[in-house]
Structures are given as structure tokens and as C-alpha cells.
């Protein structure tokens, strides 16, 4: 458990450390807001419409394919740890798993889901 004490403490400290200079900057730096300065930056042109305009679905598709791959690779890690003592049969089981993963990739590719349009 003591190793996790260190990680927990480092977690707190590494969150606080970058916040300190930001707060210090707020105190030391000038603070003179005005309507033009605080306006949304859009290369000098006044902003048109809402920021949250509709974005294309492609960003979402990439995150989706990533999610499926992520969880599948997580399954592979215990298998990788045990690899050295697995029989050939066990390695083939893992390979079948990877091939299923590759099928998902091929499907997404053929469907054109991996194109940045």
C-alpha cells in the first residue's frame, strides 16, 4: 500500500504545483478587463452566432473506433503477462482475439469510417 501513498501524494502535489503559478499570475498580473479584450478571439472579426455550432460526426467516429480498440487491448495485457508459460494453444487463442480486432479495423476501413472528410 505504501507505493500507492506515494502516487496519491504525487497526484495532489502535481495538481497543486501548476495551479500555484496560475493563481500567482492572477495576483501579480494586471487585471483590467474590458468588453473588447474579453471578447472571443476570432482573428479580429466579430464572432458570428453561437460557439457551439454543430460539428461533423467524424470526430465521434474516431473516438468510437478508439474505444473499442482500447478495451480489446486491455484484455490482451493479462494474456501478454502470461505469454511465456502459455502452450501454443493459448497463444493461438490470443491470436484469434487479435484477428477479430483486425476484422473490426478492416470493416471500419472498408466502410470509409477512417477517412477524414
Amino acid at each position: 500500500m505504501s507505493e500507492w501513498t506515494f502516487i496519491a501524494l504525487l497526484f495532489v502535489i502535481s495538481l497543486v504545483t501548476p495551479l500555484l503559478p496560475i493563481i500567482l499570475g492572477r495576483i501579480l498580473g494586471p487585471h483590467k478587463p474590458n468588453a473588447i479584450k474579453n471578447d472571443t478571439y476570432e482573428c479580429g472579426i466579430e464572432t458570428v452566432g453561437d460557439t457551439w455550432v454543430q460539428f461533423k460526426v467524424q470526430y465521434y467516429i474516431f473516438a468510437l473506433v478508439f474505444l473499442v480498440f482500447d478495451i480489446e487491448v486491455v484484455f490482451m495485457y493479462p494474456w501478454a503477462v502470461a505469454y511465456n508459460r502459455l502452450p501454443l494453444f493459448g497463444v493461438v487463442a490470443g491470436v484469434i482475439f487479435i484477428v477479430t480486432l483486425a476484422e473490426a479495423l478492416i470493416y471500419a476501413w472498408r466502410k470509409g469510417a477512417l477517412e477524414w472528410l
Binding site: 457551439w52 454543430q54 465521434y60 494474456w79 508459460r85 490470443g94
Partner: protein, 166 residues
Amino acid sequence: MTITPVTIAFAIMAIFALGGGLGVVANRNLVHAALFLVLSLFGIAGLFVLLEAPFLAAVQVLVYVGAISVLITITIMVTRRIMGITETINRQWPVAAIAAALTLVTLGFVILSQFSGQMPVADVPPDTIARMGAAFASHQGYMLPFEVASVLLLAALIGAIVVARD
């Protein structure tokens, strides 16, 4: 109950988990709700560490915080346009609250009557992850669920791509 460091750690993690959960269901701003979800998931990862299942804690952060929350947040931001509405709770919320309260009372009663009190606890064997990996790849172990999980995820991916791109 004496206060030990483990108890304090447990209390902090439980507060994260439950407080984050409360933020998820009660916050009207959906992006804030998603951030509270991340907080809650972190608390749960901490609970896994306290339960001596660090593998699950890492997977929790990797899969839930790194992937599922990101996907949820992107969905919220993509469908943002009509979310200026303030009413996020429906008309049947009192019924929902009563149902939730009743469930809590029932669950609490069962837990306190069946599982309270100290019990002898064995140590966790050190090579749990390696044994799990070996079990994933042996036919006496979990080989069938292992392969079925990959097919399930393949099906989910195909379905999601078809549905989202129609």
C-alpha cells in the same frame, strides 16, 4: 471504529465516488455532469486500489476516464445546440426519487443485516494478473467468454458505425 489512514483514504474515495455521482444526476449543465462523472470514476478507481485490485483501477482510468468519458463528452458537445433548455428533470421525478429511496432502504437493510461485522480476510495472491491471463487462454478457464467478448466488441463497433453514419 478507529480512524486509520486506510479509513481516511476510503472516506475520501467514497466521497469522490458518491459526490461525483450526485453531480452527474443533479447538475443541469451536461458538460459539468460529464466532468462529475470523471470525478466519480476516479473515486471508484481509488476504491479498486484499496481493494487491492490495481489492475482494475488502471483499466478503470484507461477505459472509463480515457475513452468512455471522452466519447460521452464529445457527444454532449456535438449535440450541444438544443441544450440551452434548463429543464433537465422530467415530470415523474418525485416518483423516481421515491423509487430510488425505497431501493436504497431495501439494499441498505439487506447489506446491514447480512454482511455487517468483521470477517477473516485472506491475502491476495501476488500473481493474480498472470493467472488471469493464463485463464483467458485456456479452455478450462475463460477462453469462450474471452473470444465472445471480442466478437461482442466487433458487433458493437459495426453497429455503432452503421447507426452513427446512416
